[in-house]
Amino acid sequence: MKQFGRFAALRGVTAEFSAGKLYVILGDNGAGKTTLLRTMAGLAHSTRGKITVLGSENIQASRAQIGYMAHPSLLYDEMSGMENLRYFAKLYRIPAGEVDRRCREAILSVKLDPDLERPVGQYSQGMRQRMSLARALVNDPELLLLDEPFSNVDARSAAEMAGLVAHARDRGKTVFVVTHQAAQLELYADEFIWMESGRIVNRTSALQGAKG
């Protein structure tokens, strides 16, 4: 069991997470779920306290192993899927010869067509979410942080996304998913984490666990 993270919040909550599991983070709006995820991604900084990710307190060192996805697509609307991913691949120091192959793999893994030249801005919402996930996967990260991957997506696409997320966990990745639609991941999740007012109030292994 590899010790993965220790989150000490302003509210004095400490938590640890293990590798290779799928965690679902739930809670009402304003509970702090997004802040927690962004802090893990190194996008937000805690005012007080510290966080250890992938064995290091310096998140900059672990960035190559982190994949982040949020409700905005984090993609350039005017470029195609492959163009987007090729650019991001270069940010991850993927060697030039490998770039195309890795990008195609990532896009195929989310069941999209790599040769589609249409700019991402013209995709349907479901396709855009999947391309955003492909971007998060392009560097084959150990840690996946997904913020509301199922929002504004039809039920079938959501179910497909859930399957992709579980598949990532099965391949050995550690996955954190923040969502309001926990039902999609009910079958796959290893643990449900309930948050309220900026702290973690409960951790259960089944969705039926009571809140707080």
């Binding site: 996008l43 937000a44 190559a64 949020a70 905005p72 984090l74 470029m79 270069k90 940010l91 560097n139």
Partner: protein, 224 residues
């Protein structure tokens, strides 16, 4: 090695995106044209007088065109929060800054290249001093505006009235550079004094602030 790759890739990406949204470029070009025309209506001097004030007019016109261009710099990165994708990657902050600054420089230089012949025509300008020196002055002056402009445009991302914050932060600090640009240009146009001091000032300004921007950009980028 990776540093240059990222800078080049980001610059290429920006140029490609700028090219695909040609409306923005055309609007900017037309705006620059308008600025020159308005100035020409507002200040209609004789050829003799024009040599004295043209330096000031031209650079103020460039300044306004640059501000509009600079405000656009980071706008693209805000859509879909795509800036987060860069921040979350291991790529360091400096290549991003350099790519944006160089991109801005190219764009503002293009605007200046459009506006200059118009100014020459409207004001019947003919330099009495060594005209070739206007080229290094233009490069140094434009870089002075662009390097700090890119930096403060990034800082403005973290504020409320984003578009007014950029000129508000940029103008006071640019005063020495502005003096340098205007006075050196006037010196060349009138041929009466030497622009040497002002060019040296511009060089000093560029060195000092390019260094400061490179050192402090990461702080601004991460200040969510």
């Amino acid at each position: 090695m990776n540093f240059l790759t990222v800078t080049r890739a980001t610059l290429a990406k920006d140029i490609r995106l700028e090219w695909r949204s040609k409306d923005a470029i055309n609007a900017m070009l037309f705006f620059s044209l308008l600025v020159v025309v308005i100035f020409s209506f507002a200040f209609d001097p004789t050829a003799e007088e024009s040599r004295r004030i043209a330096g000031g007019l031209v650079w103020v016109a460039f300044l306004f065109a640059a501000i509009v261009a600079l405000n656009q710099t980071w706008a693209r990165e805000l859509r879909n929060q795509v800036l987060d994708a860069y921040r979350v990657s291991p790529a360091p902050a400096i290549p991003l800054f350099l790519a944006k600054a160089v991109g801005n420089f190219i764009f503002v230089a293009a605007l200046e290249a459009l506006m200059t012949p118009l100014f020459i025509a409207f004001y019947r300008l003919r330099p009495l001093g060594p005209g070739w020196q206007l080229i290094p002055i233009a490069i140094l002056g434009t870089w002075a505006l662009v390097v700090n402009g890119t930096f403060f445009a990034a800082m403005s991302l973290r504020t409320r009235a984003r578009e007014i914050m950029l000129p508000l932060l940029l103008f006071p600090l640019s005063i020495p550079a502005l003096l340098g640009m205007v006075n050196s240009t006037t010196a060349i146009l009138t041929g009466e004094t030497s622009p040497a001091f002002w060019i040296a000032l511009l060089v000093a300004y560029d060195v000092v602030f390019t260094t400061a921007c490179l050192l402090l950009f990461e702080t601004v980028l991460e200040a969510e």
